[in-house]
Amino acid sequence: MILSPLTLFQIVGVLLFFMGVTCMIYKRTFIGMLIGVEIMLNGAGMNLVAASQLTTADSATGQIGSLLIMGLAAAEATLILAIVLVVYRRFKTIESEKVATLRG
């Protein structure tokens, strides 16, 4: 069975999701986690455009949805930048395991 192009694009989307989740859990710093989230969002956008371009669905819908994902990713990166700065000022570190005031 030869894979159809749509399936191939979806497999690459799954690969991006896999790399994003791995990066998010593996990295110790908040910025490493942010990089993982960006990889995942990219995979989602690519999958959306592939699903709209390669089927009979309306192509403009998928492209506009992907543009919205890009805008949300930009907004999210801005907020995380501000939050990381505040956390860094208070804790002098951005490692997720050291940022804790309650030690249970």
């Binding site: 799954v14 690969l15 896999f18 790399m19 990889i39 371009q53 930009a74 505040v86």
Partner: protein, 166 residues
Amino acid sequence: MELNAGYIAFAIYTLIILAGGMLAILSKNIIRSLVGLIVILFGVAGMYFLMAAPFMALMQIMIYVGAVSVLIFFAIMLTKSDAEAGIDCKRLLKSVIPAGIASAVMLFTVAKSRINFTIPEEVGLKELGKALLSTYMLPFELISIVLFVAMAGAVVLGFERRREKE
């Protein structure tokens, strides 16, 4: 012949994405992780070209590579992060297993779906702009509000920082 060229380009872009992912996940230095992310972004832009959406590829390069990665670079520059320890096999295994389970479910779903694909056609910019200003008017306005609120929130958080210092 043309289809084969498409498959070869697809394989090259997949390899670029894989290499970028390895660089992003396994490198010790956070700047190198960022470079890995940028490599992935360029690979995905190539994928957009391959599915006949050149406008999306351009937006990908302009928004992600031009704006988001610069933001992440600012975040790296303004904080001091120690280099991560070398490759921690146990931790890597602990993160690969949950990601693998979730991805396996997705792959199973993709393998089960039977959708006939069509040859992609490029959507004109005119059509896209018309859809953005008629059918998708509300999301278009909402995303501007979201961006404004995010920007204002970032500024408020920044001023909070300065006031506490005094």
